[in-house]
Every structure is written in structure tokens, then in C-alpha cells.
Amino acid sequence: MFLLRLVLRNAFRHRLRTLLTIAGLAIAVLAYGLLQTVVDAWYAGAAAASNARLVTRNAISLAFFLPVSYEARIRAVEGVTRVSRSNWFGGIYQEPKNFFPQFAISPSYLDLYPEFVLPAEERAAWQRDRKGALVGRQLADQFGFKVGDALPIRGTIYPGNWEFVVRGIFDGADSGTLTRQMMFHWDYLNETLRKRAPRRADYVGVFVVGIDQPDNAAAISTQIDAVFRNSLAETLTETEQAFQLGFVAMSDQIIAAIRVVSYVVIFIILAVMANTMAMSARERTSEYATLKALGFGPGFLAALIFGESAAIATIGGAIGIALGAPVAVFFKQAAGIFPVFEISSDTVALQAACAAVVAVAAAVLPAVQAARVRIVDGLRAIA
């Protein structure tokens, strides 16, 4: 009790310095949590992907397409229940900063993705309209899209101005479903290409393949690829999850950089905290010497310094962790690129561990110095 009282009073002896250190620690712990959550969110798409869906693409690269004629041959493979086409469109709505994913799909795509929840009448209306588009709830909320609105997109991969009409707004079956995207008819894309660039028509970016049993994914993938072996466009078929992880792997260096930055943030605050503790300990050298003269041992002095460091780190860490959830909500809404952006319990544990490491590491040197101070030297020290 006495030790705790002394620790807390020492901790708030220089209020401004302590409050600034606490603020710095809170911001560092918060930043660390958000950066870790960005990494988690990056993988969230892959985590949410299904093992019951396969993706067949050109074996060379995603930049190369597959003939639409492959669809029937894929459908003929045993175990395949459904096949859908999907092309990444990559257009711009009004200006580049408004980026959102757009896919040209065939209607069966929606049957493969039950997580996109769309009212039956809106689906029917979309199917009736060649220029019809479906937008996710998050996208609709962001830009204020309503059913019936015109949606002009400027093509980049497929140049020209493309006119769409919003025919449906779909929701996600759960919070992990990305609803910040747009889908439209693959046939509309293909028919337009036949007019504008005939050589680019009748090609598909990827085929999304529904299978009877997730356990058969490997065997079916092998069979599909075997069908197109030694053809002009060999295929690579993998589970949707593996396909998504392949995308994430392309960003490996960015993710690694984010991870490094998150630890750099903690290292910086460790240096700040260590400096605070060193300054405090140096100012109190004569007090430590007095306590030693009175009979208090080196362990008591070390406990005083570790306790003070722990008190500051606990308060700063707790504030940083507490701010995590509301800031994550704000970040999700402001950035709008992650379907899931929630600070996980693992991240909270890591944040707490970082605060604890900072508390201990910052106090080690001052504690050792205080424990070793010679009484006669310490009594001569002037704060």
C-alpha cells in the first residue's frame, strides 16, 4: 500500500510530462492496434472466402483471359455444379479517388454467392435490364445510390463511357461480406466489346466454379486443368481461398512494411518512455540515496521505478486500447475499403503486451542505476 502510494505520487509529480507520456503511449498503442487490424483486414477476404468454390484462370497470369467456350467444358467436369463468368472491370466513377471494385458477371454468379442477399424482385429487374447494375449496401450508402439511378462509369481496362442503371442493392449475409462493390452483366460487356473491340470479345477473366463437395476441390481442380492441358490457354484452378491468398501474397511487401511500421511506433514510444523514466530517476537520485540511507534496499527502489513505469504504461495502454473500437469504426467508414475492420481480441492482447514490454524495458536501466547508486554519491547529487 505504501509502495503503491509512493509510486502513484511519483508518477504524477510532473503532471505535464506524465500526461504527455501517457498521451504518446495511448496514441502508439492505438496506432499499433490499427496497423495490426489493417493487416488482419487484408487477410479477412481470404478468410471469408469459400472452399466450396473454385476459381479457374489463365495459368500464365490474371492478365491473360480465357475463351468463353471453356465454360461448357468446365461444366462437364464431374463434381462441377455451376460455372459463372467474372471479369474485373476497373472503371472510374466520376474521379479516381472514388474507386470501388466492379465485376462483369453472368447471372449464375449470384447463385454461387448466397452471401449476397438481394430481394427477388430486384434480381428479376436486374436480369431484365442489360445495362442493369447491382451495388452493395456499403457502396450505395457511400454514394447515395438508389434503385433506378443512372451510374456512369469511365472504363480504363475497357475504354469508353459505360452507362449503367442501378437495379438492385444487395446486403451481406454477415459483417464479413464485402458490399462495397458493383456487379453488372457480362453479356453487356461482351456485346459492347464486339462492337468496339471485337478481338477482345468472348474472353473471360476467371470462371467461378461451384462444386458438389469441398473435399473434392483438389481433385476437381486437377481435372479441370487437365482438360485444358497443352491448349493455347492452359488453366490454373484453385479454391477461392487460395486464389484470394494469392492476391494477398502480391501485397506481401506492403503488409510486411505495415507490420514493421507498427513495431517502429512501439519502439519510438519505448524510447520516449525510457527517456521519461531516466529523467525522473536522475532527478530523484538524492531521494533514492536518502531511502537507502534509511535502510530501504535496492529492491524497493527498483520496485518504485518499475511501478511508476507500469502505472504510466497501464494508463496509456488502457486509453489506447479503449480508443481502438470507436476509431476502428470511424476508420472503416472513412476508408471504406475493408468489409471487416474490427480490432480482434488477439490484437488487444498484443496491444497490452506491447504496453507491458514498454513498461518493463523503459524502467530497466533507471532501476539498475537507482539500485546501484552509492549513498554518499547520491546524497551529493542535486536534482
Binding site: G297, V376, L379
Partner: protein, 224 residues
Amino acid sequence: MLVEIRNLAKSYVRGGQAVPVLADITLDVEAGDFIALMGPSGSGKTTLLNLIAGIDKPDAGVLRVGGVDIAALPEAELADWRAANVGFIFQFYNLMPVLTAYENVELPLMLTPLSRAERRSRVELVLSVVGLSDRMKHYPNELSGGQQQRVAIARAVVADPTIIVADEPTGDLDRVSAVEILTMMQSLNRDLGKTIIMVTHDANAARAARRLVHLEKGELIVSP
């Protein structure tokens, strides 16, 4: 004999060279004595006081306090010995600024097995002896220099030590406060039988003691 010093020597290493501070000091202090150690700056009086108080160790010689060879004690035992046997009064009071007068006086008792109630009664008693019953909840920066030194005196006596060491206890005080402190120390010696060893530059302060010991260039000049 409470303090028995025989052929005590101490030197410090400064700039790679050993500088002798005390040489061949022999001195006895009876229980209940009040000694003033005087001498010019650098004469070794504070070093001798530190050795007697067990916060520094001699290079050679014998140093017994209450029959205990304190020079031979390891650090941890020496700390326990100090807590039980030595009361400190410093020139700049050396109070903990984050603790009240009451808590500062209570500090040495935190190392004893006394209960909270026992500690309270002792602290209140010594604070009343030094005339600060009404300032118990005040922090050091809310007290005058004289009052802070009285708190330090209360802290020095609260654990009922064998010996009180005072290093320039009036060095930072005005004349009136200095007289108050010296009167208080005389009272501790005379009425409570406390053994006090005081380092001072001030001849007036030294007159409060029963006995004067002069040091010059690390050697004892007068030892009646």
C-alpha cells in the same frame, strides 16, 4: 563505549589517483554523548560521519558501533543495521517531496514490524515533540526550512535509533531557525539520552555539543 574507532583510514579515487581523506583516526564516543565534528572543507569530517553512520566503508582500521563491526557487514545487513540504529539529519533535510510531514516521519517505521496504529502513535508523538502536530498533513514545500528540518529530526528519532548523525543540520537555516534546531537537538541529547554526532562549520552550532572534535587534512587534531 558506543562508538569505537581505531586507526581508521579512508581514501577516494579521483582521476585514477587515490586521495587520502582520513588517516589513522582513533576516537571513542560514549552513549549519550553529543559531539560536534569541526574542521575546514575537505578535512574529512563528513566522510567520518558517513563511516560511523554505515553509509560508507573504511579502507582500514576498526569501526564498532554498539559492539558491531559495521565495516564487516555485507550491504543488506548494513542496511538493516542502519534502519535499526541510525537516525539521519541532513543539511538540506532530504525529505520526500511527495510525502506529507506525517508520511515522511513514518518512513523509517515502514521497515519495522510495527502495526499501523503503533506507527501512528509514534509519529504523532515525535511530531508533537518537534512542535509540528498541526502540520502533519503538510507537504515539505508547504513548510519553512526550519519546519522541514524539524520534520527531519522527527524522522531521525521516530525509530528510536542508537545514534543520530547530523550533517550541517543548521547549514541551510536562518539564525533563529538554527537556534531552534540546536535547542531541539540538545533536548534530545539531554532529556532523551540520544547520542548525537554532528558535523558543522559553525562555531555557534558546535557550542551546543558537549564535546568538540577537530579534523584537519584527515587527521584528528583534538580528541579529549
